[in-house]
Subunit: 341 residues, 2 copies
């Protein structure tokens, strides 16, 4: 199994990328890597070249660049070269911690959509924070912030999410919910009302109805589908609030005198476990589902461990033959016709 | 100053409502109350009838009822009677902890919109969780979850939010931001791009641009305006996450043995202060801005203190003559014409 890696993307690139790749290489004997990037910078960082090939590139796509233009113009960038390797069949998956928009554009335009998929869905795995819930994680899509999702896209996301939950986490008959502004069938704007009906009609989906964003992390569903606009607003609000709660507690401890500081020392394992549970990097990168190969983007701030975890996620996606399953399912024309009604 | 109170609305009604009214009455010498409700239940709860009039009603609007139908049919409900008292000029403001949709419908159809306001905005005051920020609270609207806001509504919300921040919190020249899916001017769907331009054109607004939902509680703005759909999704996600973080910490303490429990005792003041800061009831109720009188709804689960705090908020709204200021501003036809362009 070969993974094409954009070694230059991300705040800590190339050091964190190379270190993460080496960790993952040591964990999985069947993994090989092609690292695309500035060889002068990358080569000295590689401690052991076993199963790692380096390919020099001359350009980089920066964080603020306009994504589509960047991937069209910078043909010799580490990102475009890595995506092209997948397109040409030289690698099985594409990984980057760089400019999110550019990763999405490279995925859509270079790696390409699976036949039958109208629009790929950016997918995050979120923690379930309810200690009473048996559910450990949630598959959540589309978090791509685009405001143009149509009904049919959300129905396709339900299948993409279902396959992900089954293949990656072994969830049996995953519970699928629709993110909406109320629990009842008739809630939401025309798009959400229509999607509710379409999802409810599908015999092969375990559709459990609407979930409100207040219950995003409550473990009520295994997969939550949403238009990109709403999913992104809810996800960022949730991440921002988690960060702010921790900073308020930290601030209280710093200003709370010796009692608070001793209290912190005693509670440190609890804070660590909550912090670990709520941290985005625990759950790997964001996956662009619906493409012909795994295209995965980690946070720009990822360290080596986060990079290695994300590569483990890609390894599982390829091993479990999730893409083949998706191609197979959407390749049947009758599925698509039914879905469109 | 007279406040018409729906004594029967809310999970803890009428006991918490009556107790909260008495607390507020004891705090403000210029406050009088008319309590609408089942006299057999309400009367025994009132300890001291000073400045409290009771008016018997025979119906109640339940939490699950369809709002518009409920307020049309249940003419002798505590909620409709209280709203009607404001409409008839017998009271200065209307307060309820009951069915949110019905409170909004009673506000719009019975109390009525200010001339020049196309759609009132449901407004919440949120905590600013950033310890480094001087800003203490945020005025946030429209949280009404409706998906049909137009450009002009959001421009009007900017003024309603500005007046609220100035009159209620004494904020000078409040910083106004637009909730959007990115920081730059050209982010978002056509509605958000257009609203950005309209807000930016207004000389009398201190418009600072877009804010993403990840920065909702970061103190970057004094007022954040949004369409109701997005605002509601982000607010509920934030509330849900805060709740889940606290429950994860609680769970960790319960299962963390004696060390964790002693740690908790030492850190209790910190948890209390964070819990207080993040609690919705600290900041009073949700206000339907743009109506001819204050219409305020507290959480259904409000206790007596939350009820009293919400009444204090109404007291300040009336004392500061915010409604008169709004009527005056929107009454000038040229403002509206300009805003529409």
């Amino acid at each position: 199994m070969k993974i094409a890696v954009d070694a230059m993307g991300g705040d800590n690139a190339p050091a964190a990328i190379v270190a993460g790749v080496e960790q993952a290489r040591d964990r999985f004997a069947d993994l090989e890597f092609i690292l695309y990037g500035n060889v002068d910078q990358v080569k000295p960082l590689v401690k052991d070249q076993t199963r790692i090939t380096m390919i020099p590139t001359t350009e980089e796509i920066a964080m603020g660049e306009e994504p589509v233009r960047a991937i069209r113009r910078k043909k010799d960038s580490s990102m475009v070269r890595a995506a092209m390797a997948v397109k040409k069949g030289e690698a099985d998956a594409f990984f980057s911690a760089g400019n999110t928009g550019a990763v999405l554009a490279a995925g859509i335009f270079l790696v390409g959509r699976i036949k039958g998929i109208d629009r790929p869905g950016l997918t995050s795995v979120l923690p379930v924070g309810n200690p009473q819930s048996d559910t450990k994680q949630l598959v959540y899509l589309d978090t791509g912030a685009n405001a143009e999702n149509k009904e049919i896209n959300l129905v396709q996301y339900a299948y993409l999410g279902k396959f992900y939950a089954e293949n990656m986490f072994g969830v049996k008959n995953p519970r699928i919910a629709l993110l909406n502004n109320g629990a009842e069938e008739d809630k939401g704007d025309p798009l959400h009302k229509d999607v509710w009906q379409r999802l409810n009609r599908r015999d092969d989906l375990n559709f459990i109805g609407n979930v409100e964003s207040g219950d995003l992390l409550a473990g009520k569903a295994d997969v939550i589908v949403s238009d990109g606009w709403t999913a992104n607003a809810a996800l960022k609000a949730s991440e921002g609030t988690a960060k702010i709660m921790l900073s308020l507690i930290r601030d209280g401890i710093m200003n709370g005198g010796w009692r608070a500081k001793i209290g912190y020392l005693l509670l440190r394992p609890v804070f660590h476990s909550v912090g670990h549970k709520m941290s985005a990097s625990t759950y790997g990168g964001a996956i662009l589902l619906g493409l012909k190969a795994p295209v995965v983007k980690t946070h720009g701030s990822s360290d080596a461990t986060a990079v290695a975890n994300t590569i483990a996620q890609i390894h599982q996606m390829v091993s479990s033959k999730m893409i083949e399953r998706t191609v197979n399912f959407f390749g049947k024309a009758d599925h698509l016709k039914e879905m469109d009604n």
